[in-house]
Symmetry: D2
Subunit: 352 residues, 4 copies
C-alpha cells in the first residue's frame, strides 16, 4: 500500500475545514494528523461537526505552542481568517520549511502587495512569502502549481468567474470593457460566524445583492483577467445571496469581439476544457444549475446567444465549498504531492 | 356604509386567484360574487386553498354557461391562461358590456397584435378589444387607467423592470443600448401547474437561469421601453429561479448618458416616486431585498455606483404575487371604480 | 373618528416587536408612541427592519431614563428578555400605574413563583405583580383578561398545545396520563439573537429535536393543564425545529377516556370553538398545515382516529409570531382596552 | 484488478434510481450495464439528470423486449412502481434465473400475501417469488440476505423505525402497547412524480402531517415488530413532511418494561450496534439531526429520558435516499455478491 501524506488542517471548525475533513477521510493517500481550532480547542471534531461522530479524528488543538518541526507534516491546509494566515504561515515555514502549504484564505492571492494593502486595509505581513506563492487555479496554472511550496487557493466567486472567462480573454474573443458578472452564492460562502444577517429567519424566503459596486473579490479578478489580457481589465461584478447552502452561479454578459458569435465563444470553451476532469462545458444553448454540481468538484459552463446581436450570455456553476474551496484545495494538494489530480475528489454530485 | 362592488374572479384556483381573494376578503368596498375554476368546479374554495376554511366564499363554478348579464358584476378579474382569456373576455363584454375588466394574463398587454402573434405563436382572438385595452402600470399610466373598461395588468418581471427604468429612459439619462436586466424570481411566478421541474426536490437548494436569450416577457418590455424612449429599445434580460416562494429582484446594469452620475440617476427616481404610495426609493447606495416587500404591494428601488466609471447598478424588488400581479390588479380596480388607490392593499410586508 | 390609544413597544428590534409594529401600523385605534431597543437605541426602525422604510415611526430609544408618567401611554407591549421584564414592568407601573401591560415574555405566566424559580434558576423579582397578572389565553380566560392591568401573553408552543387540549381535559374526555405532544416549530421561535446554531447553513435542509425531555415551556403547560383537570397533569412534550420561518404544528397523541371515540373528541372541540374568531376546527379526519395560517391570527385544529383502537391524533397549527405571540398580544390589547376583539388582526393567511 | 459485476437499474429516472447510479459510478466492483425508464426511453441519463453530464452511461431503454438472458446481468436493482415490479421480476427471473435482485419497491416486503392484498388493494402477482424473498434490513437479517436471490429492500420510514426499535423489542425492554412513532421526512420520499401537492410553492415554508392514522408503511412495521416480539404488535405511526430534500427523523416514545430505565435502553442499543458500520448510537442524552447523515449510508440513534418517569424518547435519523433506499440497496448487493459490506457506500455525510 502506498504511503500516506501527513496532513494538517488549520481552522478545522469552519465549513471549508469540515469539507477538507470530509474528503480527506476518504482520500487514499492522506492521513489527517492535525486539526486546529482556536475557540474549540480541546473539543473533539464530533462536538463541532456531529457528522464526524462515527470517525476517529485528532482532537482539535490551538495553534499556539505547536511544534511544527517535530510534527513532520507533509502538507498543511490553511483555512484561517485573513491576516492571521500570513503570520501563521511565516511561523510554519520557518520551523518546518519543507512543509507544503495550500492556503484557502485570500492572503496570498494578490501578487501585488500594494493591491493587497488597498483592498484589505493593512500592510501585508509576509511580503517575502508572497513572492513564492502560486495562484492555485489548476486549470490555468497547473504547471506552476506542481512546483509550488505555497499555493494560494482561489476564491469561490473568482473561480466561478475565471473558468469561463480566462479562455475567452486569452483568445481575444470578447470585448474587455463590457463584461458584466452577476453572481449568486449560497449561504455557506459567508462562513460559520454567528451574525444576525446570516440567521435562517433573515435569509430564508428572500433574495438580495450585497457589496454592490465594490466587493473585495474584484482585486483577484482584476489581477487574473489583466494577466490573461495583457492589459488592465476592470469588470462589473455584483454578488447576491441565494437562500440555499451550496452553490455559485455566475451569469456573465459579454460582447463578442471582431464578429465572434456566441457559438464561436462556446467552441473556444469546449476545446479549452476538452480534457479537464473538473470543468464540463454543456452543449450550446444549455445552461447549468448549481444543484447539479452540489457536493462535487465539477464546474459546469453553458453559453447561449443573447437576442441583442453580438452579445452572449455565459453561465457557470460550481459548489462554493468544493471546487470553490476545499475540493480545489485537495486538487492542488494532489498536484503538489504528485498524486493523480482527481484522487479523492471524484465524488459525483448529490442531487436532489 | 358605502356600497360594495360585485366582483368576479375568473381562474380562482391558481396563486394569483388566491391572492385576489385574500385581499378582496378584507377590501371594504368589494364583495366576492363569483369564483370560477374549470377543473375544480363544484368544489369549495377551502378545498382548493385550505387557508380560506374559516371564510364564507362562493362555490367554484365552471365558466361554461354563466349568465354574465344577470350576474351584474361590477368588475371581473381574469386570471386565466393566455389565449383562453381573449375568448372569455369577448364573451363577458358582449353579454355584459358595462362590466369592468382587469386582466392578469398576458393577452392584452401588447398593443401590437402582430407582436402578439410572433411571441405567442397564434393570431390574437380579440383584436377589437385589444384596441381599447389600457396597459395597467398605475404609476406610469394612471390617467388612462381611470377611464378604462379593460385594463391589461402588467407582468411581474416587467413591472419590476419598468418601475426603475421608465423614469430614467424618459429623462434620457441612460444609454439605451447597454441595458442589462438580470432578474431573479421566486417559484410562485411559475404558477400552480404540476410540472416536474417545479417540484420541491427539483427546486430547493439550487439556483438556475432559464429561457436564456429569449423570454416572452421581452415583448412587453420592448413595447413600453420603446414608447418611453421614442425609439426602439432592445434590452438584455435573463430570468432566474430562486428557491423561495415570493419575490422578484432585478439587478439592472446601466450607463449614464451625457455624464449622468449614479447619484443623478438616483435623484431622478427619488423625485419621480416622491408621492407614490407603492414605490419606495431607498437612500443612495442602499439596495433592496425581496423579503422586505413580501406580502405587500410595495416596490423598493435602490441605486448604487458601479466601480466602472459612468456605470450604475439599479436594483428593484417586489412581491410577484402582489405588486407583480394581484395587488396591482386591485390597485387598478380601485382606479377604475373610483376608490382610493391604496384601499385594501396597504398591508405592511410580512418579514420574517 | 375614534380616539387612538397611545402604545409603547418595549423590545422592538426582535421578531415579536416587528410583528407588533406590522399589525399596529394598520390597527384603527392604535398609535405607536414609543419603541425601545437597547443595542439599537438611536436608530430608526427602518435600519433594523427595512420593511418599515416607507412608514413614519418613532426612533428607537433605550429604556433607561424614560419618563413613564409624562408619556401617558395607554398600553405597553413588553417583548423583553425574561427577568429583565420583571424589573422594567415594576418600574413602569410604579411611575404610571394606570398603564395597561401585555407582556410577551415568560416572566408572569407562572402564578406560582416557586415554580418560576425552579425552571428559570432565580427568584422572581416581582412577586407582588405576579399576583395580579392574568394568563392571556383569550379563548380560555377572556373574562379575566378584560379586567386585567397586566396580561401574561402565553408562549407559542403552549398556545398551540392548550387550544386543542384544554377543552378535552375540561370535558374529562381523555386519559391524563398518556398525553404525548410532539411539537414542531419554525425558526423565528428562536428569536433574532445571532447564534451559530440558528445560521441558515446550520438549519436549512435538516430537521432535529431539541431540549428533549425537559423544555422550559412545560411549566406553563403543567400549570394550565392541571388547572383544567383539577389534578396534577404531566405531559410528554418534545419540541423540534423545522427549516421554515413561521409556524408551529403540534401532533398530539391521546387516548379517549371512558370509551370516548375520536369522533366524540372532535365534536367537543367543534362545539367549544364554534363562535371563536381565531380557532377553526377542521372536519373530522382533516388535519392542518402551518402554511395555511401563516401571517394570520388563526389556529387550525384537526382530529383523526388512530388505528390503535381508543386512541386519537389531534393536530393543531398556528403562526408562532401571530397567534403564538404578537397577534394574540393585540387580541389581549383589544380585550383590555374594550375594542372589538378581532380589530386589526383579522388579516387572512398568506399562502403561498 | 477484480472483475466487475454487471448491474442493471430498472426505473433509473426516479430519485432512487439516480442515487443508485451516483454510488455505482464510484463502486469499484460494479459496472452499470443497463438503465431503464419507460417515459424517458431513448434519452441519455444526462437529459433526465444533468448531474451525470460528465459521465458515460448507457442510454435509457424501455423494459419491453429486453433480452434478459443474453444480457447476463449479475444483479438487477428494481426501482419500479409497486405491482409493476412483481410482473417484471417474474419475467426477469424466468429468463435469467441466476440474476440476483434487490427490489426497492414495496412489492416483496410483506411475507404474508394476504396482508399485501389488504394494504395494496389487489392480489399479489408473484406469490411464488414472495416465498423466496428475504427482507433486506442488513443489520437484522444479514445472514439470510447473503444467501438470497431476491432481496426486498426495506422502506425508508420503516428502516428508520426498525433500527432503534427491533433491539429493544427483542430484549423485551419496552412496553409493546404504548409505542408512538412520530416520523418526519424530506420531500424526496414522495418521489419525482409531478403532483400539485409536491410543488415547491406548496411545500416550502410549511409543515404538515399526512396519512394520519393509516399509512401503508404500517404493514411492514407490523410484520417486523411482531416477528421480533413473538406476538402481535401494533404501533401508532404518523408521518409528516418537512420542507427539505433528504432525511427522516423518527421521534419514538416508549415506556421501559419491568423497570428498564432510559439509560438501560440506551445501553442495549449501544451494545447491539457496537460493530455495525452504518448505525451509530450517540452518547446518552444526545439526539441526532438529519443534516448530519445527509448523503451518507449512516443511521444516527439517540436516547433521552422523558420527564415522565419510566418513559424514554428514542430518536433516529437517516437519509431516506441512501440508508432509506439506494445505499441500503447497495449494501444488500454487497452482501449478495460477497463484497465487503461497506464497499462504495462509505461516503461521509455532506454537511452543510
Amino acid at each position: 500500500m502506498a504511503t500516506k501524506a501527513k496532513i494538517g488542517v488549520l481552522g478545522a471548525s469552519g465549513y471549508t475545514g469540515a469539507e477538507l475533513v470530509r474528503m480527506l477521510l476518504r482520500h487514499p493517500r492522506a492521513e489527517i494528523a492535525l486539526l486546529t481550532a482556536e475557540r474549540s480547542a480541546g473539543k473533539a471534531m464530533r462536538d463541532v461537526f456531529p457528522q464526524f461522530s462515527p470517525y476517529e479524528l485528532p482532537t482539535l488543538v490551538a495553534l499556539d505552542g505547536l511544534d511544527w518541526a517535530s510534527m513532520k507534516l507533509d502538507l498543511v491546509f490553511c483555512a484561517l481568517p485573513h491576516a492571521t494566515t500570513q503570520k501563521v504561515l511565516v511561523e510554519v515555514l520557518s520551523k518546518a520549511p519543507s512543509t507544503k502549504i495550500v492556503d484557502l484564505s485570500a492572503d496570498f492571492r494578490l501578487a501585488d502587495t500594494t493591491a493587497y494593502a488597498k483592498w484589505y486595509g493593512h500592510e501585508h505581513h509576509a511580503p517575502e512569502l508572497q513572492k513564492e506563492a502560486v495562484y492555485g487555479l489548476a486549470e490555468i496554472h497547473r504547471r506552476a502549481i506542481k512546483q509550488a511550496r505555497l499555493v494560494a487557493n482561489p476564491g469561490c466567486y473568482t473561480t466561478c468567474a475565471q473558468l469561463p472567462l480566462i479562455p475567452l480573454i486569452r483568445a481575444k474573443a470578447i470585448d474587455l470593457d463590457e463584461i458584466v458578472i452577476d453572481a449568486k452564492s449560497g449561504m455557506t460562502g459567508a462562513g460559520r460566524a454567528a451574525k444576525e444577517a446570516m440567521l435562517f429567519s433573515e435569509v430564508s424566503e428572500g433574495f438580495n445583492a450585497y457589496g454592490v459596486g465594490g466587493h473585495r473579490h474584484m482585486a483577484e479578478l482584476d489581477q487574473e483577467f489583466s494577466a490573461a489580457a495583457g492589459r488592465d481589465v476592470v469588470v462589473t461584478f455584483t454578488p447576491h445571496l441565494v437562500p440555499m447552502n451550496r452553490g455559485i452561479l455566475s451569469t456573465i454578459y459579454v460582447r463578442g469581439k471582431r464578429g465572434r458569435t456566441p457559438e464561436e465563444l462556446h467552441a473556444i470553451l469546449l476545446k479549452f476544457y476538452a480534457k479537464e476532469p473538473f470543468v464540463h462545458v454543456l452543449p450550446f444553448g444549455q445552461t447549468p444549475q448549481t444543484r447539479h454540481v452540489r457536493g462535487s468538484n465539477m464546474t459546469f459552463i453553458g453559453v447561449a446567444a443573447d437576442r441583442v446581436p453580438g452579445r452572449a450570455i455565459v453561465i457557470s456553476a460550481l459548489d462554493n465549498l468544493v471546487k470553490g474551496a476545499s475540493g480545489q484545495a485537495i486538487q492542488n494538494m494532489n498536484l503538489v504531492l504528485g498524486y493523480p489530480e482527481a484522487m479523492g475528489i471524484d465524488q459525483v454530485a448529490l442531487f436532489p
